[in-house]
Amino acid sequence: MWYALVDCNNFYASCEKVCNPALAKRPVVVLSNNDGNVIARCPLAKALGIEMGAPFHQCKDIINRHHVAVFSSNYALYADMSRRVMDTLATCAPYVEVYSIDEAFLLCDVPPAEAQDYALSVRKKVMQWTGIPVSVGMGATKTLAKLANHIAKKRTDSGVFVLAGDSYCQSLLETIDIAEVWGIGRRYARMLQSYGIRNVWQLINADDSFIKKKMTVVGLRTVYELRGIPCIGWEDAPPPKKAIVSSRSFGRPVESLHELDQAAAHYSAIAAGKLRRQHCAAGAVTVFVSTNPFKNEPQYSCSATVVLDMHSAYTPDIIAAARTALCSIYREGYRYKKVGIMLTDIIACQELSPTLFTHMYNYEKRYRLMQALDSVNCRHGRGAVYFASEGVIRPWSMRRKYLSPRYTTQWDEIPVVT
């Protein structure tokens, strides 16, 4: 059995290129929320020296000079392209574990002599079906597959690497820094370096009791995995999320309770929608607000939690709880930068037991109302139907000046051909 880690190259920038052929030979960067920082760069943009995380306003010069295409984050597009990549991978292997929006582990059964060809075929298929370039790393464990992927990205032209057999050797592994190993954080890397363990080969040959003493059994597990002994299991069904957070920075400072309340209601509605998609209900609603710590002006941040009397995924319940919490922490005279909602005490719906009051609650009616709301918003795009308390004009909403069309999720935004 092999683990393969498939990772999309410069995922957001690649998504922007798929449905816009005019970008094929142009450098592309994607900006974070509020168009703040560069969060994805295509290879052409990297070659210009635009750094990951660089503030947008600092790169404007390079961007103008080299005619770089700039995009705000288009999460509707990225989520749909991610689904396409994952669905394509599901045709390549019997088990697929989605690890993040642009990464997945595959578990596959191919003879060692065919592993390289298999990896190439996965890469080719994802490219053909979705237009997204991926790197594929293969190994006997998840940790080795991750490391192989790193090698595939940095040291090959083919974009694939199999870390096994002849390639699993001292001459290669001693050229790789331990900081590249999955599960070795920066702090552990520094600690190991102080003991003279700098490269992966040294780590593989480190003494078990030393590793266990310094990095607990979790670190030992990583070392075993590097030796080819699988210790990190297959997570078939990830447990429901422990918390759902919905929060954004404002496009401009907000002072009035009225506007904060609109934003809190808006994020509550988003969070409640997420909750329902996971078939879960929340027991507590937390609201947090903060001013901009980078501005030289009065600072304030605070949070408050309202415990629901019963678990709920009904948007008006969440909005009402958020309003109660917000009113208790709002202070006049501050310029707020951010408000956020966190839902906690999340349980799966089937764990709920009916109580004495359940039948008094028009349960069925409220359930159907939320279903209708979700299906309209699913068909016509998020925000087609919303609660009036979320506000209509939303002057506080985040900046997304360079948003591309939602090519794959909205009928009136699909690509045009001549």
Partner: protein
Amino acid sequence: MAIQLPVCTLPPLKAPLYLMAIKAGFPSPADDYVEKTLDLHEHLIRHPAATFFVRVSGDSMAPLITHGDILVVDRALTPYSGSIIIAAVNGEFTVKRLVEQNGITLLVPENQSYEPIALTPEIDCTVWGVVVHIIRTVA
């Protein structure tokens, strides 16, 4: 705050349990012949992960494909000579028929008043996907 009671806590139905309202008394004999309704998506789309929709502008493929049509494009298919394809040519999407003739690859419009494009090395062209259906609204 006021007492909050649980709502929306049932998982949604995966499929209709009954296609008829349940009435007391005798069940309808038609219940034995329940079938699901036809799903056009299922008919038009073989590879959901690889299928994209695009809208046509212009008449270079008329009368087969006309202005405003929606095309169902399957990227999982490999084009052959005669396929109608979406190609990216010099940074723009175009729909044409792919024709291989005497070792030359051409992008051929259906409309006689347009000229075929011969794919010479100077032309930057990649096949983006294969058109599998044309959707036209007529009423």
